[in-house]
Subunit: 305 residues, 2 copies
Amino acid sequence: MSLLVVGSVAYDGIETPFGKTDRILGGSATYISLASSYFAKQINLVGVVGNDFADEDIDLLKSKDIDLEGLQIDKSGKTFFWKGKYHYDLNNRDTLDTQLNVFEHFNPVIPDSYKDARYVALGNIEPSLQGRVLEQVNKPDFVVMDTMNLWIEITPDALKETLKGVDLLVINDSEARELAEEPNLIKAADIVRAMGPKMLIIKKGEHGALLFTKNEIFSAPAYPVIDIFDPTGAGDSFLGGLLGWVDYTNDLSTDNLRKAVIFGSVMASFCVEKFGPERLKNLTEKEIYDRYREFRSLSRIPEVD
Amino acid sequence: MSLLVVGSVAYDGIETPFGKTDRILGGSATYISLASSYFAKQINLVGVVGNDFADEDIDLLKSKDIDLEGLQIDKSGKTFFWKGKYHYDLNNRDTLDTQLNVFEHFNPVIPDSYKDARYVALGNIEPSLQGRVLEQVNKPDFVVMDTMNLWIEITPDALKETLKGVDLLVINDSEARELAEEPNLIKAADIVRAMGPKMLIIKKGEHGALLFTKNEIFSAPAYPVIDIFDPTGAGDSFLGGLLGWVDYTNDLSTDNLRKAVIFGSVMASFCVEKFGPERLKNLTEKEIYDRYREFRSLSRIPEVD
């Protein structure tokens, strides 16, 4: 099996109520790859970085067995940079600076050796670029895609076109409501699934996540994190944990997708404990499985006679 | 066993995006009693109504084996009347009219035959009145209380005094944040529990509910109701279902409280399907247990090896 991850690789400047970092590794492809690396055997990353991308960050990704043949190094400019500040309640953030740099003209080119990917993660980039990835791969088993309000608003047609080739869309609640133009999430899910993706996950932050498949809804709890240090990358870590588990088990049953949602939630819950991807660097199998069991216990409903 | 329910008995005028009713039976004690009547054997209601209270509403309560010795009938005025209009998304409502009428001078007098109640439900009324109830009863096993933002803001001292005698407080997320003065719900729960109630339930509407006990958190899902017709009374039905189940089983273990939270959620999910308490009039045991099983299936996390 192999898992293809396409998205941004970036540097982030992050300020939260608990601390500040001027420059830390970030980007959707980074978080997805790191989170999935705890499960998936072969991860192939497609993205672009600039002339300032640090060797130690290359080394970090390689140390997690993430293949970088598809990582373009564009010497003509710098790496995508984003700077943001989180509010007191951590649910909202202000973007203070966005420098697209070499990411502005990113054209995802899938190396031949990546084209037979069984599983594809389309991180949050322009929908037409996500579509271009799907044109280059050879019938993957399962395509998972993320997007954001920006694309729902400025490129709705391209987004809807790309959605037709997607198996599972992973978005948050405000995005689901906006995409479906429907406030009730249960109804919104039906509307979004009619656009193409057979399955949909709606992430609700501190309220957990909902998985919608053909005949089922699965309601996953949120881990009761007392000290959320930095929410950056939580959504991408969710996607990485989820798809990493699917790749590891090679099982697309709804029962296994429930497990995948929880492993995604597990990775997201670790991610927010430290700045940027710090916490995703050195997790142990025991930590991951213990937290999975905590999720089970958190939402266990006893049987009644 | 007997269950004492104290709260408002009212008439409501309700407008939702789906319909309108000028006058329908309402009030916290009404919803709590009706919802708990599917489980509890003996329900004793304490409240006040006016000279306009209809015989058919008396008959309805009596038909559910709700004892009305404690229901004061004040001939000097009319029954408490509330009129509200729900917004399109049903999460917000405007109060259009509030006529306290005989409820304005409500003084809960507990009949002697009610004083040995094992379980007490303090519906949302002024905290000092809730406290007066606790002064009149003989050491109940378990006191459950509801309150609202209004009392947190205008009578915080009385509220905190009453909280000392309460075992389980049931409030919604905005109330929990306001009472604790803390945006993080997990931290807020600790702060509220330090005020007296050993246990706390935070209701999160479409996101389910959280039960906090000494050593555990239980995250209950919300039932995916596609057509919420009228949210009035959902919170009180939750409390009624919950305490009704506790009374029926006479079991205060955390495992049984998890079941109680789900039976509360079951009753709330039925309540919102029709106007006012309509749906709570004729439920069958099968409907209730089937929905309980749906909740279980909704949040079931499979085991991993």
